[in-house]
């Protein structure tokens, strides 16, 4: 009996900093992530790609330094979920771990930085859309087939084996509130909202339809899905899902409806081009649409919360508008070289990425990225000169 005291080994490992971390830990230290450093500040980075040459760079916005990563040719699009970059090509999706991300614990946030690394390829042709939450990443292809990948695999640097969601999707599958939101084709004009659990099993769904679904965004107040007559806002409270329509309230011609939302991650103010010379602003909190008249729109975005609507116009200049009055507040000289055109599914165009303090605009032909202080009359805070044409850009670290 007395012997058992000694043969259990020593529990007191605290004096030995080199002691290996117990892998059988019941509760790993709060916020602990293997191979990553926790940081006090947001670790913002830009992933940049030149589809012509395949050159890919990661620009660290804190140090201002650029890092080369493996080439990705034939990219038609680049999207992110805040951590991973998804390089869309005809041969599938190439996944790169941008090595900067945040974990939101509600009342506080943890920021991490780690090495940039290649994760591998996920199947999916042109028109494939990728959406993520903390646990799963969904890949919805053009034929309406959706696959569910486990984030844990991607975080370990591998694609893993996905699970296929039953049925055919008319829109994109969006992970939200530990579930998945889909719009199932009904054979009619309108698709029906369907809620699944993370295993892909259907659960009780609110009775809601969405005609010609295009565009989606996750906000703190629910998921916004773009429909022919406005938006459908899907929310979860105490495990129950509700759906609410936010109609335009006016007749909107098809080419002027919102089909692609952009916003600051975490914000409840969405923007989308409204045809060629206006931008829609959807205030999800107030559930109101505002149409702001602008010059010819190439790209738009806003940080919300009283910050201006930022619009890149076809002469390459940025314009700032007061969202509530529609008044122009500021304009820059032309920044983006050439006559930029709005991005389409087939071609890249400049974008405006927005975070809590700055906006970023890529100038492909000028081989530059601009950092814009949107709360200071669209002041150009920094200009980053590059050795590639950054036709595709996303911001990670959030």
């Amino acid at each position: 009996m007395a012997l058992s005291v000694f043969t259990t080994g020593c529990a007191d490992q605290n004096d030995d900093p080199s002691a290996p971390k117990s892998s059988a830990s019941a509760s790993p230290p709060h916020g602990y992530v293997e191979g990553a450093q926790e940081k006090a500040e947001q670790q913002s980075r830009l992933l940049l790609n030149d589809p012509g040459t395949g050159d890919t760079r990661v620009l660290d916005l804190i140090s201002g330094k650029t890092q080369e990563v493996s080439r990705r040719t034939g990219t038609t699009g680049l999207t992110t979920d805040g951590r991973f970059g998804y390089f869309h090509t005809s041969g599938g999706l190439h996944v790169v771990d941008g090595g900067a991300w945040m974990v939101d614990h509600g009342d506080h946030v943890h920021y991490y930085r780690a090495a940039v690394r290649d994760v591998g390829r996920l199947p999916g042709g042109p028109g494939t859309r990728v959406r993520s939450d903390a646990a799963v990443t969904t890949v919805t292809d053009e034929d309406g087939r959706a696959r569910i990948h486990r984030r844990a695999d991607l975080e370990k640097g591998r694609a893993g084996a996905p699970r296929t969601l039953p049925g055919t999707q008319a829109g994109v599958v969006v992970p939200y509130a530990e579930h998945l939101l889909g719009l199932t084709a009904t054979g009619q004009d309108a698709a029906r909202l369907t809620v699944y659990d993370r295993e892909g099993k259907r659960v009780a769904s609110p009775d809601a339809v969405c005609e010609d679904p295009r565009g989606d965004a996750v906000t703190r107040r629910g998921v916004v899905l773009g429909c022919a007559d406005g938006a459908l806002l899907v929310r979860e409270t105490d495990g129950a899902f509700t759906a609410q329509r936010i109609p335009y309230g006016e007749d909107v011609p098809e080419k002027e409806r919102a089909t692609a939302f952009r916003h600051r991650p975490g914000s409840d103010t969405l923007t989308a081009p409204a045809g060629e010379r206006a931008v829609w602003v959807l205030d999800v909190t107030e559930r109101t649409w505002t149409r702001v008249k602008t010059g010819p729109v190439v790209a738009a975005n806003t940080a919300g919360e009283g910050s201006p609507l930022i619009v890149l116009q076809s002469d390459g200049s940025l314009h700032g508008y007061d969202i509530s009055t529609g008044k122009q507040l500021a304009a820059t000289k032309p920044l983006v070289t050439g006559a930029p055109e709005a991005a389409t599914d087939q071609s890249a165009g400049p974008v405006i990425e927005v975070d809590r303090s700055r906006a970023y605009v890529n100038d492909p032909q000028g081989k530059r990225v601009y950092e814009i202080d949107y709360n200071d009359n669209l002041r150009i805070a920094r200009t980053f000169d590059l050795d590639i044409e950054p036709a595709l850009m996303v911001e990670t670290g959030r």
């Binding site: 509760s27 670790q43 913002s44």
Partner: protein, 322 residues
């Protein structure tokens, strides 16, 4: 392994068998033990309280500190081994008042398993957080402030109570030795207070302002007559090319306080000082303080006394322009 609480200690095996048992154990387990399980054990959550407890306990019991040097008491967690250890302790000492948010449930479990637990912060006459104009823990206004250790008088009080707890709950400990340790340490703490008063006496009344993003100096401010002015410290991408509005929270705080010294951790302190100088004119200092954790031994704040002396010197020099 049978779990044992402090109440039912196994009797010490007769000394003569010990060498034999150790040899057997080494042959059988292959892991050498630094501690023998029959010594009484005190487990402490934070490293600041760990140092204070170690001073009082001396070598009369095993003191295990759960929080590593340079860690964050708000977010450190426990391994399964540490959690189990907690439940085998004779006494668990924790800061409380909401500081160790991820460890509390383990302390609670230990208490339910019959382990004596002591919440030092609660016993040290806590203050409540004040609402700051900016940069302070606004949502915490009215909540008790857990950072009592920045007031050495409160630490004296807590240390005395820790000695009482050790005497009461750690079986077989030499009470005389504990009391002697406690008296000696109490004298050192009294000396610290006197020295801090003298040091801060060099800071003119109108300059006794701590412009900071740390929420831990409320007790120190109250004890030594300082004003804490909360501010948002620009960081990361904002600091690279800031506008006046990016710096406004901080520059307003500094103007209001009438000081040119900021006490904050910054990943780019030189850069921060530079942009503030441009904005305010004159020389600006950015001074880092030790706030919630001791360092490794010999790295500036290896003990509570060293931490307090280092911070006092940094504040005094920073505010008198030494």
């Amino acid at each position: 392994m049978t779990r044992q609480t402090g109440r039912t200690r196994r009797p010490r095996p007769p000394r003569i068998f010990l060498p034999v048992l150790v040899i057997l154990a080494l042959a059988g387990a292959g892991t050498a033990c630094t501690s023998t399980d029959d010594r009484p054990r005190v487990v402490v959550t934070t490293n600041i309280l760990g140092d204070i407890t170690q001073e009082i306990v001396g070598d009369g019991a095993e003191v295990t500190v759960l929080m590593k040097p340079n860690a964050d008491p708000h977010s450190f967690g426990l391994s399964a081994v540490q959690a189990a250890e907690l439940e085998r302790a004779d006494l668990v000492i924790f800061n409380g008042l909401g500081l160790e948010e991820n460890v509390l449930r383990h302390v609670e479990a230990a208490r339910e398993a019959g382990v004596a637990t002591f919440e030092a912060g609660k016993a040290a006459d806590p203050l409540t957080f004040q609402a700051h104009d900016e940069g302070g823990p606004e949502d915490e206004a009215g909540q008790p402030d857990p950072h009592f250790w920045t007031d050495p008088d409160r630490v004296r009080k807590a240390a005395g109570l820790i000695a009482d707890q050790v005497v009461e709950h750690v079986d077989g400990i030499d009470e005389k030795a504990v009391r002697a340790n406690a008296d000696r340490y109490d004298g050192q703490l009294a000396g610290l207070t006197t020295w801090m008063e003298k040091s801060f006496g060099r800071v003119p009344e109108q300059r006794r302002a701590l412009v900071t993003n740390h929420h831990v100096f409320g007790y120190l401010a109250e004890r030594f007559g300082f004003r804490v002015v909360g501010a948002v410290i620009p960081s990361g991408t904002t600091l690279a090319s800031p506008s006046s509005s990016d710096l406004r929270s901080l520059t307003q705080a500094m103007r209001k306080a009438g000081v040119h010294t900021v006490f904050a951790d910054s990943s780019q302190p030189k850069r921060l000082a530079e942009v503030l100088r441009t904005e305010l004119g004159g020389h600006v200092r950015v001074v880092e303080l030790y706030s919630e954790s001791l360092t490794e031994k010999g790295k500036g704040a290896g003990t509570y006394l060293q931490m307090m002396r280092a911070n006092t010197t940094a504040m005094t020099d920073g505010l008198t322009g030494a």
